[in-house]
Amino acid sequence: MTLRLEDVSKRVGAALHLDGISLALEPGSFNVLLGRTLAGKTSLLRLMAGLDKPTGGRILEDGRDVTGVPAGRRDVAMVYQQFINYPSFTVYENIASPLRRQGLGRDEIDRRVRGTAAMLHIEGLLDRLPGQLSGGQQQRTAIARALVKGARLLLLDEPLVNLDYKLREELRAELRQLFRDTGTIVVYATTEPAEALIMGGNTAVLHEGRLIQHGPTAEVYGQPVTADCAAIFSDPPMNFLDAILSDDRLMLGDGTALPLAAHDRGLPPGPCRVGIRANHLSVVRPNDMAVAIRARVELAEISGSETFIHVGHAGVPLVAQEHGVHPHQIGETIALYVDPTRIFVFAPDGTLQAAPARVPQRRRGVA
């Protein structure tokens, strides 16, 4: 199935929850819907599912207009933040429930329930009730119930947010494997940039009810079309500095001059905003081109493998992410190196003007 949204809007009272969203999702694609709380992720999922009707625009499945068609008559499954299962049904009956509604035969149901349960590693829990399960097992059951239908559209609304950190990490890796090579369109809503990167596939960035960008995840991460998009897709948050661009250099607010690299040469001169991801701001000089800026240490967060150095530079808070442990005294002034080849340049209105070149990616089958 191909799902197309054409200029879809959703207005509730005076508030515009979704504003002119156009999006095409290919069969078998994995799509992350990335946005902050209240960006409109859940509203959009509800429209895709047919739980709500858009106030403007059309929704097409394989070219067929399904705009007013309710969820019950669409081929869709959904998983929510909360672990939603039938409390009085066993895990087996929970997973079987959508199949019973389809009126499948007993053997067919049994085969599919056991198959799906095995995929989610809950085959040993089929006789239990949801109340006897841990959070992770409950959510596995809910995911199994959504998967067993074999719906052509599967929507997941921050499904891991209520789980423990480590459990989230494991389930995430499993889900990524699970959704490969099925013909299903998967839409996975999350607030976390790291989750979008791990899940891969495509990412659609939603901000204040608008779709800012949609494309392959690595591409959206590497070339965010606006500063907002870059900020949403960075964790730790992206650092922004005001600068003036001229023919041969970038002049930062404090007078530091950055030489131009291949990617930001030839841009129209004038004011701009420089975006630097935390891992490209370093206490170690990465190469000969790198330029130091002076910054006052406000806090060093040491996570064991990494240090997040929070600094103030000309009144702007910045974060630098370093490998290893780097203890720093609060109030100490240090030099942080900016690598001109790794910076983003945004126009004053936030539009991306130049992004650093990306390292070519190889995903699977590297041998």
Partner: protein, 291 residues
């Protein structure tokens, strides 16, 4: 919310629409019809316009009944709401036989048919054989609900409180159970007094259910009929004749259909107006919009 359209949904709603049409809308229209005509019999109806309405509004007895009714409803709210909340606060929480037992006991009065409630109290309050009435007389009180208007009033009120406070208590209890334990823990740590916990945590969190309780109790008490009819028959004199009873007497007893119809419409509008005012007022109290 703007939900997707499903025509099959109409099939499910249809029976309700039909029942409401037959049981509410049609009778209401008939009443409207009666209230603007003088009807002597089939085919003998004359248009009288607003005459019945004028007559109703000028009627002393009706104004008295309305005043009595409002006083009664206010008294019911003033007693049952605080009492219900107080009971809810004292109820055991959590799972266990104590909670179940309390809930069953509280639900009992709600399960008794209204006319039976009237009969129970009629006997209970009798001065000669009634447990309550006789006990009061033994205490040396000159209690006689069939003769003394004040005693009649208090008895009707007591009956209503006995019958309906449970409902308020159950609603308030449900509201209290929904408060996460963290709020109580935080209040403890903040050194809050019992009163502060009630005032700043429990009361605000119970707002939603209390609105429902107030509305239900107001509308119900405003339309009370069966219990006082059984207990006092509206007497002594007209002391406990409330609006609905007055209306019935007018329509059935005196066969004043036109006046009674006009009165019904006015009655209906009053209930509607009060409920609306209550609702808009109460939903804003405590949200800061009223300030």
């Amino acid at each position: 919310m703007d939900k997707p359209w499903n025509n099959r949904a109409w099939l499910l709603v249809l029976p309700v629409v039909a029942i409401v049409a037959f049981s509410a809308i049609l009778p209401l229209m008939t009443v409207v019809n009666y209230s603007v005509q003088d009807i002597f019999g089939p085919g003998q109806a004359y248009w009288v316009g607003t005459e019945w309405y004028r007559k109703v509004l000028e009627d002393e007895r009706l104004r008295d009944a309305l005043l009595r009714q409002m006083l009664y409803s206010l008294a019911v709210l003033a007693i049952e709401i605080p009492l219900g909340v107080a009971i809810a606060l004292c109820m055991p929480s959590g799972k266990g036989w104590r909670t179940s037992l309390t809930l069953v006991l509280l639900a009992l009065p709600l399960l008794i048919p209204w006319n039976v409630v009237g009969t129970i109290w009629q006997i209970f309050a009798r001065g000669d054989i009634g447990l309550g009435g006789a006990a009061l007389q033994r205490l040396g009180l000159d209690y006689n609900y069939t003769g003394d208007p004040l005693d009649a009033w208090l008895t009707v009120l007591a009956m209503d409180v006995w019958h309906w406070t449970s409902l308020v208590a159950l609603l308030a209890y449900a509201g209290l159970q929904a408060i996460p334990p963290a709020f109580y823990q935080a209040a403890k740590i903040d050194g809050a007094s019992r009163w502060s916990v009630f005032r700043y945590i429990q009361l605000p969190k119970m707002r939603g259910v209390l609105i429902i309780a107030v509305l239900l109790r107001f509308m119900d008490s405003f339309m009370i009929y069966t219990e006082p009819f059984v207990l006092t028959g509206g007497g002594p004199g007209n002391a406990t004749t409330f609006l609905s009873q007055f209306l019935t007497r007018m329509a059935v007893g005196q066969f004043d259909l036109g006046v009674a119809a006009a009165f019904s419409i006015i009655y209906f509008l009053i209930v509607l107006l009060f409920s609306y005012v209550f609702y808009t007022f109460i939903t804003k109290v405590g949200t800061g919009d009223a300030r």
